[in-house]
Symmetry: C2
Subunit: 375 residues, 2 copies
């Protein structure tokens, strides 16, 4: 099954790679950043606007769509691509992370997780088998193994959850019936080198067409996160795509790509947009700030997005102060553009063999010190 | 001044007309419906989306922009067209109606109105002269005389407010300094034929390049409203555009055009959109309704808007139930299209001399009886 999903590495630069991952809905050029469409919509953005931004991969959340409108309804409507009218590649997560982050009451047993819906308080259950079934109903191009997330610092819990994640990974492989979806395995292991190594070895040996690194960006330091990526990627097969889940600041994209990551996703650009914050390659601007009231410049003079080509900071601030919905739309367009363009720039730098210089310059402009690799 | 603004009638059909009104930012093809951009944005819609809908005239509210961000800031930013990046014709109202409908405390004297800001409770003042000054700062192509609105049924109040509106209209003409803005006079007079007639005669004699009918759609019956339009338009010069303020249901566009109205504006399409309601030429659909949960049809099979060409009712209902902002955007696009397309269809029917048949058919489809003209 997995050999349907060819990952062709086109260029390498240090530990970084640029490649093409082929899915039924198109070829992903990596490195790639995936905007998040939690409830089958990237918040405040139309698919046409997303397409104009050059987005190629969109993530939707299994947990949310399972609860509402229900994966069976989505299947009846022709699947997620048809339902939300996004005809390029899609990825669904497994629901594992949301069960742990959004649901108050949850009980994990060897078979699965019982949890309380954050929508209506009803009790629901997910297992490796049901997560795969739901993801098959949703029909994304890349689907994820159901994993158990844990506090990355508590070693005993991390190890137990990791071992269970491995057993669940095999059950996901066994449960899978569609051959047009690439099922990715997820490496866990928190911030413990030996656990990360063991998890990467186990998952890597299972024959997934792609691998994800889970359980990061959840409270550990940046240095710990970057180091965990290094440990995993020393083990994970270089000829398969590597996906760093839930990570999406400009500095994390840069440091991640330097360490061999190919795919990223994050709610940050659209969430920050709804909180009046513009992401740029020279830092964040809170556009609510009174200093922007008469500022006739765009958010970023060098940005080519619709928002920056069209509107002033003064107008965006007015929309924010006046509580106009358009503010979230225009800032989402800009913030998504920033990360999508960064991924394209990283790709180009790898192809041209100048990633180190690019990273130096970009991190200096962000005013964030680079984190050297451990070895 | 007024002869800068040529209104060329291209076709007539019964009392209806189709023409071209020339402004500095383009030619308005009438009949025309103007989407409302209260706070310098048509809520939840980008100017690019508005342009794709074929909108040609956008209204913004003087009252709101005077209070926030302030007309002087807008002027510094290059005026309203530049500020909100709408480069086709714009219209601003005078603030008169909002002072009466939005402000709790207001005191009218012969010179103007003192009122409490609905934003911060501070006391503000508008006079005919300051309304014109503000509208000159905003810089719309069509600006409106400052009028006093009143309960349309209370004859004594209506007559007093109407007489003051006439005195204020002359003060607006005298205060005006820019010759690139067409100042329209407003006819008042409530539901009283003799007052409407007197008001239309007075305003018509003052040399405005266009006329508006104000004080309607505020509590009177449809029959009373349509009759008041007839009374006004029997008096108002046929060679100048006639604008029915704040009116925007499909049936009112049809009945208004039949009675010689050229310009309409209304918040209804975008407001209904934010309340989950789709406007169609076969009535309104509340898309929150569970009957749409698995409905794979577009809102309107015959509609050519982006929303109808792209999404199912089931998806729109999902967005509404999941409280996603995109619902308001997609429904606003559809609702605006419905009225913009209706105005285009009315225009075409006038040009082809088949307005009566078009009106009969459209009203039958809307399932609303036609209201015959009084004479």
């Amino acid at each position: 099954m997995s050999n349907n999903f060819d990952y062709k590495i086109l260029a390498e630069d240090g530990g970084a790679r640029s490649g093409e991952f082929t899915t039924l809905h198109g070829v992903l050029q990596t490195p790639v950043f995936a905007p998040v469409g939690t409830q089958a919509t990237v918040k405040s953005i139309t698919p046409a606007q997303l397409d104009a931004l050059g987005a190629t991969l969109v993530l939707a959340n299994t947990y949310h769509l399972f609860l509402r409108p229900g994966d069976e309804l989505v299947a009846k409507m022709g699947g997620l691509h048809e339902f939300m009218q996004w005809h390029k590649p899609m990825l669904t997560d497994s629901g594992g992370f949301q069960v742990f982050s959004l649901s108050d009451t949850r009980k994990v047993d060897e078979d699965g997780v019982t949890f309380k819906s954050h929508i209506d308080g009803s009790m629901k259950r997910l297992t490796p088998e049901s997560s795969i079934k739901i993801q098959e109903n949703l029909g994304a191009d890349i689907i994820m193994a159901f994993d158990e997330c844990s506090d990355p610092n508590n070693r005993a819990y991390v190890e137990q959850a990791m071992e269970r994640t491995h057993r669940w990974a095999q059950r996901c492989l066994d449960a899978k019936t569609r051959d047009d979806q690439a099922l990715f395995g997820i490496v866990q292991g928190g911030i413990f080198d030996d656990l990360r190594e063991r998890s990467a070895e186990t998952i890597n040996a299972m024959g997934f067409p792609g691998h994800a690194i889970g359980g990061l960006s959840v409270g550990e330091t940046k240095t710990e996160m970057y180091h965990a990526i290094e440990v995993c990627n020393q083990v994970l097969s270089p000829d398969k795509p590597r996906y760093l889940m839930g990570v999406g600041t400009p500095e994390d994209l840069i440091e991640g790509v330097l360490r061999g990551i190919d795919i990223f996703d994050c709610v940050l650009p659209t969430r920050l947009a709804r909180h009046n914050s513009a992401m740029t390659m020279f830092g964040r601007l809170n556009l609510m700030n009174a200093t922007f009231a008469e500022d006739t410049r765009p958010i970023d003079e060098e940005c080519s997005c619709y928002t920056c080509r069209t509107f002033t900071r003064a107008y965006l601030r007015h929309l924010i102060v006046a509580k106009e919905m358009l503010a979230a739309t225009l800032l989402s367009i800009h913030n998504l553009h920033t990360l999508l363009q960064l991924a394209r720039d990283l790709r180009q730098a790898i192809i041209e063999g100048r990633l180190e210089a690019f990273a130096d310059q970009a991190m200096a402009r962000l005013n964030i010190p680079r984190t050297p690799k451990r070895k």
